[in-house]
């Protein structure tokens, strides 16, 4: 089973790499979906089937689809690909890579502490998760639902036809 973990990890990393270096937005999105699916597999291997299902349904199935819809509306064509090639030259990668590597180094430094813990001893059933969610964390669930509501309203407001306030709107 551990081998599946490593294979998925490699797939996830490679897919993410291609995502950020791709010139075509749609292609990038699709590779990211691949990355998400790989992390779903990782979750499953680690004994969290509920999380794995969530990844596939919500993350890859809703959020990414939303992205894809928006990108379709923007309608990138050949012109966009040319533009991307222009904007992302080789020189641009130096500083960000450098900063990311430093950050990664700091992470790894912290992580390499003594003591070994192992993940994936046992499967954690969705029932347990559900009991936690609506037991301990009930308040947070309510708050998150409010956030989702706000997001909904925000998205609705932002996608109106024009953003300038007309005098007719002020009257009511």
């Amino acid at each position: 089973m551990t081998i599946i973990f490593y294979i998925s990890a490699v797939i996830a990393v490679i897919a993410t790499l291609i995502t950020i270096t791709s010139m075509n937005p749609v292609r990038a999105l699709l590779y990211f979906i691949l990355s998400l699916l790989a992390s779903g597999v990782i979750f499953f291997v680690l004994g969290d089937p509920f999380a794995a299902a969530l990844v596939v349904i919500i993350n890859a199935g809703a959020i990414m689809v939303l992205f894809v819809f928006v990108v379709m509306m923007i309608n990138p064509g050949k012109r966009t690909i040319e533009q991307e090639k222009q904007w992302t030259g080789a020189k641009m990668w130096i500083l960000p890579s450098f900063l990311a590597v430093i950050l990664l180094a700091e992470f790894i430094y912290i992580l390499l502490l003594p003591g070994h813990r192992f993940s994936g001893h046992q499967i954690i059933q969705p029932k347990q998760v559900g009991l936690e969610l609506f037991g301990h964390y009930l308040l947070v669930v309510e708050l998150v639902s409010m956030v989702l509501l706000v997001g909904l309203l925000g998205a609705h407001h932002l996608s109106r036809k024009s953003n300038t306030v007309k005098s007719e709107d002020l009257e009511d």
């Binding site: 089973m1 992205f67 991307e84 192992f118």
Partner: protein
């Protein structure tokens, strides 16, 4: 299931986070910037799951659930803003967003 070292999982999460960070800094198209932010969020979720599994608590998955919900709301609003920007500037160049100063 598999017995994976927690540190290995967390290193994986770190690598994915760094990749996402690089994407945010490098790309100029706002769609890609948002995408890279998604990558980072996903990496954080992975970290939570790994730790939760190591602790044998369901809290990791609960956290992942919340992160997902927040990410969804954020992406919805963000993409709405992207569409606004596209209508206004007719381009998706992040460098157009330079009014926040003074």
């Amino acid at each position: 299931m598999a017995e994976i070292n927690m540190q290995t999982g967390l290193i994986l999460a770190g690598i994915l986070f760094a990749l996402g960070l690089t994407g945010v800094l490098v790309r100029r198209n706002i769609i890609f910037v948002l995408l890279s932010i998604e990558i980072m969020l996903n990496a954080c979720g992975l970290a939570f799951i790994v730790i939760g599994s190591a602790m044998q608590e369901p809290d990791g998955q609960v956290m992942y659930f919340f992160i997902l919900a927040i990410a969804a709301a954020e992406m919805a609003v963000g993409l709405g803003l992207v569409l606004n920007m596209f209508h206004k500037y007719k381009t998706l160049d992040t460098n157009m967003l330079n009014q926040m100063r003074g």
